[in-house]
């Protein structure tokens, strides 16, 4: 290949401060092909997209569009040159307060040389042309805010197509769409492909990838870790390249004593966590640490929050300690001893204006209070114990959380839920944005204290799962598709589960 590539990247590097994000990326995009870019969190996908779309500039390396060098100084310049990007956040691509027709021709309303007034009938006519070309069956007079997400996404793409681009970048376009809606989007992408547009499609959803990909490129730690273009495409290989390259070595190094559960604590039978999802069942016992892994967007967080009472399952029942468990909110869950260390501590975990001990006592204030008055002495003593236990680096328990490093902030959010005994402790991506040392401290503490409770971890990184869990469950498309005991794990089968080949793989353990 190479000769028919319309867009070429060679030796692209980019660093933010001391952090090298891209370390020499090379990538070709061909006309009329969908190239899927896969990469775990932090692999550098967003940075690559931002450089291609003119938001950031590369430190080194070259981009070629056709046979001309391409180094856009701004998104507008990239767009004019023929590289358009549809961002993950749908609402970035459309203006909610305007109707569909105005959105479709919005970019023509701006820029030098336009008149002061616009002619509504001409806007309509031009919008009609764009819509017809894209086969967009949407009422042009409708307000964008009244459209469902999928339609908004289509408008954003059609709007991008009004520039007659040579290259279109789609950044996780289906992340908030249902499967029916996604199918309409795929039909649109097929049409783009047929028109000879080179498409870079970024996604974690294996079903999307299977449906669309002509080639797959895996990005890991800022470099291309694998290219797959021979039919049939090697999906497991691509997942392996993205996640698992070092798994083989890691297996030996971090192998743990897989323990079995002592007594059953929690079970869920045939719960469906989202409308249209297949039912899933799981059973957790005291003393075991179970990791749920799977790609981004397969419903891990949804499941974690369902168990914690933030969402209610669409169907099915849950049991805790032999009694029915149907929490209506987080307070119910906490009352029954089900705790969640939620994903993304900045938005769901820490209270930035509180200090360490106030953050730790937050869910258990009633237990730290008498007649409604909080006992700071007890709160502070509890916090001091946790600071020692988890080796939190701080001056005292009265430090503001904002003065702590990311790893120590995460330790505080985990420690909060360790101050009280739990029956089921759920941790959603507890190692996010945490350095290796902090990760080991947290993992060791979790395994050490696992005795009296069931511990459930949600981890996208397989390494982390292999390092901490006794048992590994794999999720795909809102259900559990595989189960592995963490002893002599069959990596091929594990990766196949992650890549979503459950219907072809034997499911027993």
């Amino acid at each position: 290949m190479g000769d028919d590539a319309v867009f070429r990247i060679a030796g692209l590097t980019k660093a933010f401060g001391p952090n090298a994000v891209l370390r020499g990326v090379a990538l070709d995009l061909c006309a009329g092909e969908v190239t899927v870019l896969m990469g775990a969190n932090g692999a550098g996908k967003s940075t690559l997209v931002k450089i291609m779309s003119g938001v950031h500039r590369a430190d080194r390396g070259a981009m070629m569009l056709g046979d001309k060098p391409f180094s856009p100084a701004s998104p507008a310049e990239a767009m004019r040159a023929g590289v358009v990007t549809v961002h993950q956040n749908i609402n970035d691509g459309v203006v909610g307060a305007l109707d569909v027709a105005s959105n479709l021709v919005l970019d023509r309303l701006n820029g030098a040389g336009r008149g002061l007034f616009f002619n509504p009938r001409r806007v309509r006519r031009e919008a009609r042309e764009v819509a017809d070309r894209m086969g967009l069956g949407i009422d042009l007079g409708a307000e964008v805010t009244n459209l469902p997400l999928a339609d908004r996404q289509m408008v954003a793409i059609a709007r991008a197509m009004a520039h007659e681009p040579q290259v279109m970048i789609l950044d996780e376009p289906t992340s908030s769409l249902s499967s029916n809606e996604a199918e309409r989007l795929f039909a649109l992408i097929d049409r783009l492909r047929a028109r000879g547009v080179a498409i870079l499609y970024i996604s974690h959803r294996m079903s999307d990838i299977r449906r669309l990909a002509d080639r797959i490129v895996s990005l890991r730690d800022g470099a291309i870790a694998g290219k797959f273009e021979d039919k049939p495409l090697d999906y497991e290989g691509a997942v392996n390249a993205m996640l698992g390259q070092n798994l083989a070595q890691n297996l030996g190094r971090h192998s743990i004593d897989a323990r079995d559960a002592a007594e059953p604590v929690f079970s869920a039978s045939d719960i469906r966590i989202a409308p249209g999802a297949r039912p899933l069942s799981l059973a957790l016992g005291a003393g075991e640490v179970v990791a749920v892994t799977g790609l981004v967007g397969v419903g891990k967080t949804r499941l974690a929050e369902t168990l914690f009472g933030i969402h209610r399952p669409v169907a099915g029942t849950m049991t805790l300690d032999g009694r029915s468990y149907a929490p209506r909110n987080a307070a119910d869950a906490i009352g029954r001893g089900v705790f969640l260390v939620a994903k993304d501590r900045a938005s769901t975990g820490i209270v930035p204006e509180f200090n360490i001990y106030e953050n730790m006592s937050l869910p258990f204030l009633p237990r730290f209070s008498r007649l409604g008055v909080a006992s700071r002495r007890v709160e502070r003593q509890t916090a001091r114990d946790q600071i020692g236990d988890l080796k939190i680096v701080c001056r005292s328990e009265r430090d503001d959380l904002a003065t702590l490093s990311g790893g120590n902030q995460q330790k505080v959010t985990v420690a909060r839920w360790l101050t009280q005994p739990s029956r089921l402790l759920i941790l959603d991506e507890p190692f996010q944005g945490v350095d290796i040392a902090a990760r080991h401290d947290i993992a060791a503490k979790l395994r050490e204290g696992a005795g009296g409770r069931a511990t459930l971890l949600f981890l996208t990184e397989l390494d982390e799962a292999l390092e901490t869990a006794d048992r590994i469950l794999v999720m795909s498309e809102n259900t559990v598709v595989g189960e592995h005991r963490n002893a002599d794990v069959d990596m091929d089968r594990l990766l196949a589960d992650v890549a979503g080949r459950h219907h072809e793989t034997a499911r027993s353990v």
Binding site: F16, G17, P18, N19, V21, N41, G42, A43, G44, S46, T47, F308, I310, N329, A330, A331, A333, I334, G335, L340, A342, S347, T348, G349, I350, V351, P352, E353, F354, E358, L362, P363, L365, P366, F368, S369, G372, V373, A374, R395, A402, T403, L404, S405, G406, G407, Q410, R416, Q432, G433, V434, D435
Partner: protein, 350 residues
């Protein structure tokens, strides 16, 4: 986004030195120093500023706005805002006058009716904001207009006083009960006879109550958590909506208490009074952000903020600065306090 997270975690946050830097001292004690400086300046520049009577007069002049400000502090704590406090206070004043003068009821009934009105309006505000998803500023602005209009309907726009003519031609025979008037006019003895007015006592008691509630009870702590990171509070099991609704109820009740004191001071239901209550109270609460470098709503700061405005206006009045410059001075102080809070403490601005 991902890369930024990683970046943040790998770089250790700089550890502040145990001793406060000059800047931190300025942030923490700047406003209190300014207040102290003003007091010293006015006592040197005018005669009689430092007398107990003058001090009490200042407190009395800020007692009603101070009480309203303490109430609005509760809504600021949960990340909301209450623009209806001024009109709740005047509605409460009109209601007290109506109950006693027209309905000829006693002081206790009047007080209870006022408190009920305040609680009910606060509850409605909270429900509209939490369940109808109307933004706090707009919901309470709407409520403000509604109440300003509502309080005029029973008397067809007239002020309420004994002997007034009712819409149906009869004469209102009721009077303000002496017990009720005492709320606004009685003075307690403290060292000097007849020194401390009842309204000042109410202000001090309410300030201590709300300060203790916000700082030391778990409910107050949770209200701060709701205001600082609502989702984190929800994930910690807090009934977020209930806390927000309660904040508006507190604000409404405090405003109603302010209205009772206003009615007791005036001795009539004056349709034209209370115009400045909202702005003065909000100013006091916002100035409170700057006290002790809190950079967040807090009861102590609010009380100091109210006092600051009172001292400033009293001092300027005694120096014969014309009354019409008062609003300008208050506005200027507010702007400076806000700059102080948000520019110097930018990190924690919400």
């Amino acid at each position: 986004m991902d890369s930024r997270m990683a970046e943040k975690s790998s770089v250790e946050a700089p550890r502040p030195s145990p001793r406060l830097s000059a800047r931190e001292v300025a942030i923490r004690y700047g406003f209190l120093t300014l207040l102290f400086g003003l007091i010293v300046f006015f006592s040197l520049a005018t005669r009689g500023f430092t007398s107990p009577q003058a001090a009490v007069f200042i407190l009395q002049s800020v007692s009603i706005t101070g009480i309203l400000a303490l109430g609005v502090t509760a809504t600021l704590v949960v990340g909301g805002f209450d623009l209806s406090i001024g009109s709740i206070a005047t509605s409460s004043m009109m209601a007290a006058a109506y109950v006693m003068v027209v309905l000829e009821q006693n002081a206790l009934v009047a007080v209870l009716v006022c408190l009920a009105i305040g609680a009910l309006v606060g509850l409605i505000n909270g429900l509209i904001i939490c369940y109808m998803r109307v933004p706090d500023l707009l919901a309470t602005l709407g409520m403000m207009f509604l109440l300003i209009g509502l309080q005029r309907i029973p008397t067809e726009g007239r002020s309420i006083a004994t002997g007034m003519t009712m819409p149906d031609g009869s004469t209102a025979e009721g009077t303000f009960s002496p017990a009720f008037l005492a709320l606004g006019r009685h003075r307690f003895d403290l060292v000097i006879d007849n020194l401390v007015p009842a309204s000042v006592v109410v202000l001090i008691v309410l300030a201590i109550v709300i300060w203790f509630f916000l700082e030391y009870t778990r409910f107050g702590r949770m209200m701060y958590a709701v205001g600082s990171n609502e989702r984190a509070a929800e994930f910690a099991g807090a009934p977020v909506r209930a806390y927000r609704i309660w904040a508006y109820v507190i604000s409404g009740v405090f405003a109603a208490i302010g209205g009772i004191l206003l009615a007791a001071r005036l001795g009539r239901g004056d349709i034209a009074s209370g115009n400045n209550l909202l702005l003065d109270a909000v100013a006091a609460a916002l100035i409170g952000f700057a006290v002790l470098g809190a950079a967040k709503p807090n009861a102590f700061g609010t009380a100091i903020g109210a006092l600051f405005v009172g001292v400033l206006l009293q001092g300027l009045t005694m120096m014969n600065v014309p009354y019409y410059t008062q609003d300008f001075v208050k506005g200027a102080v507010l702007v400076i306090a806000l700059i102080f809070t948000f520019a110097l403490l930018g990190r924690r601005a919400r």
